[in-house]
């Protein structure tokens, strides 16, 4: 009984957060907040939520891809640097992308740069998280060498969790081994 009451309270509060999020376009932190559900109840946590199933956020209109920082190309150069398998070395092409955006950043001294490291999904996901960070840091080093102060650069890793291509072949994997350069507000 208590259990269900608590669940309902949680769901109601989650709902109100979501509804608030919906009325507040275009970007709202709330839309990315997960919804907590009650996974127990009954002996051994065996019953299924007393018939409650989690609410479907999609029906609440929280549809837009709100999670991303701005990712835009300047001067026709895609702001993505690609890497070889299990590698965090910048090749000439990657270096050219970095140099291009280092020049752009030097003309916009207030602009921050966010570097998101990604991997293909082969190998273990936690190691890939570290590898994604290494890739982002390799790009950061290249930006610093090009004169961008480290205080303007933020580094994060998504490991293998946000692939650009979902296929399980070399061309998809190559697209996923990347650092995306973004410009957060």
């Amino acid at each position: 009984m208590m259990n269900h009451k608590m669940t309902r309270m949680l769901l109601v509060s989650a709902l109100s957060v979501l509804l608030a999020a919906c009325s507040d376009p275009p970007v709202d932190e709330g839309a990315n907040k997960p919804v907590v559900l009650d996974g127990t109840g009954g002996i051994n946590g065996l019953e299924t939520n007393g018939g409650l199933k989690g609410i479907d956020l999609n029906t609440l209109g929280a549809m837009a891809a709100l999670e991303d920082d701005k990712n835009y190309a300047v001067g026709g150069v895609q702001p993505t640097i690609y890497f070889g398998y299990d590698s965090f070395d910048l090749d000439a092409k990657g270096q050219a992308v970095v140099s291009h955006y280092a020049r752009y950043l030097s003309t916009k001294p207030m602009l921050m740069a966010s570097l998101e490291g990604h991997c293909d999904d082969r190998g273990s996901s936690e190691y890939n998280m570290a590898l994604g960070e290494r890739r982002a840091k390799a790009v950061r080093e290249a930006l610093i060498v090009s004169g961008i102060p480290s205080s303007r650069i933020r580094v994060i890793s998504f490991g293998e969790e946000k692939p650009d291509a979902e296929g399980r072949d070399e061309s998809s994997w190559a697209k996923n081994r990347r650092v995306e350069l973004k410009f957060p507000q």
Partner: protein
């Protein structure tokens, strides 16, 4: 009724038989009742789990008790349950004829009966009998079982049978936590943290998020999960109670916060943090949030896991250029010992709760494979035949390993017997990955 004495006699007998086989074949003994023949197949116990009388009282076909028990035992790789279609209908329907079952080489026979006590309320009896010596090894009744709990009762039967025959604890009445990716067409991709029974049935959602979730670890009392969430657009570690009443971010430092693993005593969490400049492993006292750094190399150190005694950790480090498994003692973490030597990529180690093995993922020509290493002999053995394996997780009795892999349909979760003999893809709908096998929960 069976007596403790008869079980002891049985185990002793099996020890003697086992020991003589080991001597003859010159293979090492792993545990008393196990017979392993190097390079060949392993003996598995033949068992006839006969259809339960009164099964037709249960309308839901998912609640076929005998089949649930057969599937459980088969998944362990240590039993070879007879198919129901191979059983003599006359013998199944008639009085128990142990001589018949002995003649068709079924050393063990299970008989059961279901009675309806009320609407959606059942009483179930189960008996396990050795057909060779006619000893009754288990005779147990489950009373007042609702339809929803019938599968759980069946798993408890499997545990009782497993324990009586092998002398090791069962681990069928346990749960798996994992991440499901909901790819409903036309909708935004969603990540769902789910908990299901150890055979993949009865999934229930714990958390839904638009941002990735990964690296689940159970608290040893099975009340809380630690995991990594990207809800703030970067990896952070959250501890959430299974009932959803508490949820707390425990690590949100600069850089990576990942790979949380609960200590056997439930007081601390291992985790990987890169706040010091590169990924290293730390241990956090959960109550005080106090951190102690355990690895110091400038390489990637991640995927820490506790040794069974909680006094040491195994972890992945690429300090030699490629991921390999190392070990460090808690009281002297700078004294690091390399554990894996075969293969160029050995990652995501996990120690078996009995302390005998580690499992990890090894890169082979055929892809990434679940591999075990015997910590006594140091021999390693690739045990999976899939090739994109991740996230191995031991059952609480150390005899099975859940892991995830990919095929053209997406992510799958499978259970391998630790001996590599049995592979079972679990029947979980959707794109799933990252299984974490929960601890035994004392039931009833």
């Amino acid at each position: 009724m069976h007596s403790t004495r008869s079980i002891l006699a049985k185990i002793l007998g099996a020890c003697l038989v086992g020991a003589s086989v080991f001597m003859t074949l010159g293979v090492s003994a792993e545990d008393p009742v196990r017979v392993e023949i190097t390079g060949g197949t392993e003996q598995s116990y033949p068992i006839a789990v006969t259809p339960f009388k009164g099964q037709m009282l249960i309308a839901n076909a998912d609640y076929n008790l005998a089949q649930i028990v057969r599937d459980d035992l088969a998944r362990s790789g240590r039993f070879n349950p007879m198919r129901e279609s191979e059983m003599s209908a006359a013998k199944v329907a008639g009085e128990l004829d142990l001589d018949y079952w002995r003649k068709v080489a079924q050393d063990y026979v299970v008989i059961g009966e279901v009675r309806q006590q009320a609407a959606d309320m059942y009483q179930v009896d189960m008996r396990l009998i050795n057909s060779l010596n006619h000893q009754e090894l288990v005779a147990r009744r489950w009373n007042g079982v609702s339809g929803q709990l019938l599968r759980t009762a069946a798993h408890q039967m499997s545990d009782a049978i497993y324990s009586a025959v092998t002398g090791r604890g069962g681990a069928f009445d346990t749960r798996l936590a994992y991440v499901k990716i909901d790819r409903t067409p036309g909708k935004r991709k969603m990540f769902v943290l789910e908990v299901a029974d150890s055979d993949g049935y009865a999934p229930r959602a714990i958390l839904r998020s638009y941002m990735p979730l990964m690296s689940i670890s159970w608290s040893p009392d099975a009340t809380r999960l630690a995991y990594v969430t990207f809800e703030n657009r970067r990896p952070e570690i959250v501890v959430q109670s299974l009932d959803g009443r508490s949820r707390q971010t425990v690590a949100a430092f600069e850089g990576i916060n990942s790979a949380p693993v609960w200590s056997p005593d439930g007081r601390s969490l291992l985790m990987t943090l890169s706040k010091g400049g590169n990924p290293d492993i730390y241990v956090m006292d959960v109550a005080s949030k106090r951190l102690t750094q355990l690895t110091f190399d400038s390489a990637i150190e991640t995927e820490g896991t506790w040794a069974a005694d909680g006094q040491a950790i195994y972890f992945n480090s690429d300090r030699r250029g490629q991921p390999q498994v190392f070990k460090a003692e808690l009281n002297n973490p700078r004294d690091v010992k390399r554990i894996t030597f075969e293969g160029r990529y050995n990652a995501r180690p996990v120690a078996s709760p009995d302390g005998r093995y580690i499992a990890f993922v090894r890169q082979e020509v055929g892809g990434f494979k679940v591999t075990t290493q015997d910590l006594v002999s140091n021999e390693s053995k690739v045990i999976s035949s899939t090739g994109s394996d991740e996230s191995p997780s031991f059952s609480p009795n150390s005899d099975m390993i859940a892991y995830s892999y990919n095929d053209y349909r997406g992510g799958m979760i499978a259970v391998l017997s630790r001996n590599g003999r049995a592979f079972t893809k679990l029947n979980i709908n959707g794109d799933v990955r990252d299984p974490a096998w929960g601890p035994l929960v004392s039931s009833q």
